[in-house]
């Protein structure tokens, strides 16, 4: 858990600023603007920097917030405090609508899609009669508490910065939670997260809504600060500007959003007020200089200013070890987990004309280690993907505990107690080992995003982290618990993946080349761990190339070659099987 002390100091400082004698009122205006911008940028940090969803359309959500309160307070005479939840709800609902359409877009369609509706909505604001077309809406009432009316920038300052600091806290709380880990895993692709039950489209929609609501809040404050709205500040240019504020500050860091807002707002102000003194008479020089400085800044610090500043601070050493005495409830087991756990029947997978898996049948029983071996390209990983629901079989069937699961998505497979690791490690490199492993326990936690934001999830969270810590100790990496996953060696990362899979509390563990990249001693430890797991009642299905490792470990071996099963049996029979020898070594001379 991050320390809250710096935030408290920051809050006190911000609260003190207006009381500094001789503070120019102009600075307060500037700080108001920074706060408004920071709110939107913070949402973008979560959306773009953390979630990997680039949006140009945030200005439109600011517009929704601003126009909602403008319309309701002027035309219907509602109190601004009543329109606050309404503004947020309108932004949030429209985010759901636009999000449902856009968050499913992959890769570069997404930013372009948001740019498109950002532009479209801007023109809509400026054409609709009841929103006052290009003139907008004016004479919006100020915020007031009792008889205190926030008429000047100095008084609304507090409302703005309370909103900024609360939003930052809520956003940081969200990131440091079960839901937050799911969000942070989004940027690295969806396969790994989904394998542990994360509903990725839902997680994406969630960050989308969060960012939109923050933007709507900024819009609501903006409307009551300016006391008038018109379409200009909600156009595509503004949407682009919010995005680069987030990037300049350091997309991925909540405070980077605030810092970026400060840098950009102040830079623009300075350029606007001082450049004409240096280069008099020429119009938009500040835009030119601003654009050039932006490119220069990116060339100097492509990761943003906040992480660059943080790297100057002394490195903080490790986090606190979770209290491992807390027990997480075991995954509910269905009866009859003694016979056949997994049955693959004539599974076939074709990619166009290529038959990757050709009518393969085998099964895995309870308390058994089965190895799937075969030369490269034999269809082993594809078989794994079929079992775990990443791919669906062209024909044939796969049953778990006698129930067919052919079309089930990965999230459903993991609920049945089947968890896996990946041939190409899929960890989130900028999360700690502990956090990565805790993703494995995703389905065993219950706290939702709202509970996380308000810190009502702590009991649940402590249990999840305790379970993660236990599994890390079990696989023998307790010293690396608080290191970033990306800093580990590839072999260790594979072990972390095993710990993550164990967090599911599985009945069947699917391991894709777990021993690759391990040293001899580490392989022996791994073999011991797997035997212990089997003796504890778990089954293991593993793909592996290290024959020594497999032959000493597996109870049964299934051999694939060019997608077809060519042999099955105990290690002893496989070793002498002529078909297998032919597949591996070619025909004996």
């Amino acid at each position: 858990m991050q320390s809250r002390l710096p935030i408290l100091i920051f809050a006190v400082l911000m609260a003190a600023i207006p009381f500094v004698p001789g503070m120019p009122p102009f600075w307060i205006v500037l700080l108001d603007n920074i706060g408004l911008t920071a709110l939107v940028a913070m949402g973008l940090v979560l959306l773009t920097g953390v979630g990997g969803l680039t949006s140009f359309g945030q200005a439109a959500f600011v517009g929704f917030g601003a126009y909602t309160t403008a319309l309701l307070t002027t035309a219907y005479g509602l109190s601004p405090w009543l329109t606050l939840p309404l503004s947020l709800v309108v932004s949030g609902l429209l985010a759901v609508l636009l999000g449902l359409v856009t968050v499913r877009l992959s890769g570069h369609y997404l930013p372009l899609g948001t740019l498109a509706w950002g532009l479209g909505l801007f023109y809509l604001f400026s054409k609709l009669e009841f929103l006052g077309r290009n003139d907008g809406i004016s004479a919006i009432p100020p915020l007031s508490v009792g008889s205190f009316r926030m008429l000047d920038p100095g008084s609304i300052y507090f409302a703005i910065w309370v909103a900024v600091i609360l939003s930052a806290l809520v956003t940081m709380n969200l990131l440091d939670s079960r839901t937050g880990r799911a969000i942070r895993a989004l940027r690295r692709g969806h396969v790994a997260a989904e394998a542990f039950g994360v509903h990725t489209p839902r997680a994406k929609l969630l960050v989308f809504i969060h960012a939109a609501v923050l933007a709507g809040l900024s819009g609501w404050l903006y409307a009551h600060l300016q006391r008038a709205v018109n379409p200009t500040p909600f156009g595509a240019q503004a949407g682009i500007e919010y995005l680069f504020i987030a990037v300049v500050g350091g997309a991925g860091y909540v405070w980077g959003g605030v810092l970026g807002a400060a840098i950009v707002v102040i830079l623009k102000e300075v350029l606007q007020s001082y450049l004409p003194l240096i280069l008099p008479g020429s119009g938009q020089v500040e835009t030119i200089v601003f654009g050039i400085m932006l490119v220069a800044l990116l060339q100097l610090a492509p990761g943003g200013v906040w992480p660059w500043l943080m790297s100057l601070l002394p490195e903080r050493t490790g986090g606190k070890k979770p209290d491992t005495s807390l027990k997480l409830e075991a995954r509910p087991r269905s009866p009859g987990q003694s016979g056949v756990l997994l049955q693959v029947e004539k599974a076939r997978k074709q990619f166009g004309g290529v038959v990757a898996v050709n009518n393969v049948s085998f099964d895995v029983h309870a308390r058994e280690i089965v190895a799937l071996i075969g030369p490269n390209g034999a269809g082993k990983s594809t078989t794994f993907n079929l079992i775990t629901g990443v791919l669906s079989a062209t024909s044939g069937s796969i049953s778990v505990l006698g129930k067919k699961v052919d079309r089930a998505p990965p999230q459903e497979i993991v609920k049945l107690g089947i968890s896996r690791t990946f041939q190409h490690v899929k960890l989130v490199p900028d999360m700690t080992v502990l956090e990565n492993v805790a993703i494995g326990a995703h389905l065993r936690g219950h706290s939702g995003p709202l509970a996380s934001m308000l810190r009502l999830d702590r009991a649940d969270e402590a249990k999840l982290l305790a379970e993660a810590a236990r599994q890390i100790e079990r696989v023998g990496l307790p010293d690396q618990m608080h290191q970033l996953a990306g800093s580990l060696s590839l072999g260790q990362q594979r072990i972390v993946e095993i710990a993550r899979a164990l967090c599911v509390d599985p009945m069947l563990l699917l391991l894709d080349e777990p021993a690759a990249g391990l040293r001899h001693m580490e392989k022996q430890q791994l073999a011991k761990l797997l035997r212990d797991l089997r003796d504890g009642g778990m089954s293991v299905l593993l793909v592996e190339h290290d024959m020594g490792f497999v032959m000493n470990l597996a109870d049964r071996i299934v051999v694939l070659d060019f997608g077809t099963k060519i042999a099955e049996g105990t290690p002893a029979t496989i070793k002498t099987n002529p078909e297998v020898i032919k597949a591996y070594l070619g025909v004996a001379a």
Binding site: T48, G52, T54, V101, T102, R104, L105, S106, G107, H108, Y109, P111, L112, G113, L115, A116, W117, L119, G120, Y123, L124, K127, R187, R188, G189, H190, V191, A236, I240, E241, L243, F244, V247, V248, A251, S282, G283, Q284, V285, E286, T287, I288, V289, F290, G291, I292, M293, L294, V295, L298, Q299, P302, H424
Partner: protein, 346 residues
């Protein structure tokens, strides 16, 4: 609505659509090769158009000076990047390409601007000037960022757009300009009137599409560019200079942009900031084409042009809303048709 109006709108739509197609092609090209979403594409359009219009009316365009200034900058970047292994040939080559060339063009521009040059000279000078700006732009702004994420490149692209648009105001003022027709004259077929200008637009668009197709299909440089687009690292290992690919992409994009501008400016008045919106419509087409397919982008661009023409007739107030909202159903269809596949991200 009668057939005449419909045919007229259709013709108008196709003319605009052809321009969007060119811009869309350029965007796809640059994105595929460099991963830069080229927001300043619109500035290439206005620079080309307004340089041409200024020259034609006997004014000195500021873009020629900008080209020289950027060339000096590019040369400085070149020399700084190679500071550890400077040698004579490299210095000479960089100075020739980045300083001597724009200086010569500047001299020619000053010479011709004073005497209202013929249309062909105006076109040639405008194209060369904008082409150099595009080339140096890549060297200064994007080459140092080539290894960063698409997002950072995008933001840099925004910065460049702001700077270039500001410079556009400086060079050409807030007044709109129009240029002389590239090809004057017109003829009628039935109730339709074809101007030489619109025929030029069609001709050049088709020529460019065929040209790009031949370039990418048949030439070694074209194939190198395609290889870079598919896999940067792989292309480098195969000995392709990816910076060269980036330069070629920017060169082509700026020439296409400038040419589009020169073709539009006789038809509609352009302002220093008109390019952004025109470029964005090319963008819409490029997105519909999925940022990868040239023929699909061209077809989509014609579609965008036609939709725009019709909506400006029926609901002129909502013209832009309709064009940009058009994307949403397209994007939706695309995502439904192609379920998201795992992307290995850096």
């Amino acid at each position: 609505m009668n057939t005449t109006i419909m045919l007229f709108l259709l013709q108008d739509g196709i003319t605009n659509g052809a321009i969007y197609a060119l811009l869309g092609l350029a965007l796809v090209l640059v994105f595929a090769v460099t991963r830069v979403i080229l927001i300043p594409q619109g500035e290439f359009v206005t620079y080309g158009a307004l340089t041409y219009a200024s020259l034609a009316s006997g004014q000195m365009p500021g873009t020629a000076k900008l080209a020289l200034a950027m060339g000096i900058g590019a040369c400085a970047f070149d020399l700084f990047a190679a500071r550890k292994a400077l040698h004579g040939r490299l210095i000479v080559r960089s100075v020739l390409a980045n300083i001597v060339l724009p200086a010569i063009v500047l001299a020619l521009t000053i010479y011709f601007a004073a005497q209202k040059p013929p249309v062909a000279v105006c076109i040639a000078l405008s194209l060369v000037i904008v082409a150099m700006i595009g080339l140096y732009l890549y060297r200064i702004a994007f080459q140092p960022l080539a290894h960063t994420s698409v997002l950072v490149l995008l933001i840099a692209s925004v910065g460049v757009h702001l700077a270039l648009q500001g410079l556009g105001l400086l060079f050409f003022g807030a007044e709109g300009q129009r240029g002389p027709a590239v090809l004057s004259g017109a003829f009628s077929a039935g109730s339709l009137r074809f101007t030489g200008q619109s025929l030029t637009v069609y001709g050049i668009t088709i020529a460019f599409i065929v040209g790009l197709w031949l370039f990418f299909g048949l030439t070694l440089y074209g194939k190198a560019l395609r290889a870079t687009a598919v896999n940067r690292l792989g292309a480098r290992l195969a000995g392709i200079r990816t910076t060269l690919s980036g330069q070629i992409a920017f060169l082509l994009a700026s020439v296409i942009g400038a040419l589009s501008g020169i073709m539009i400016v006789p038809i509609t008045t352009l302002y220093y900031d008109s390019g952004f919106l025109i470029g964005l419509k090319g963008f819409v087409a490029a997105i519909i084409g999925g940022l990868v397919s040239y023929p699909l982008t061209a077809v989509a661009a014609l579609f965008v042009g036609i939709v725009e023409a019709f909506s400006s007739f029926y609901a002129s107030n909502y013209k832009e809303v309709i064009v940009f909202m058009l994307l949403i159903p397209v994007l939706l269809l695309r995502s439904l048709a192609a379920p998201a596949v795992e992307e290995e991200k850096d």
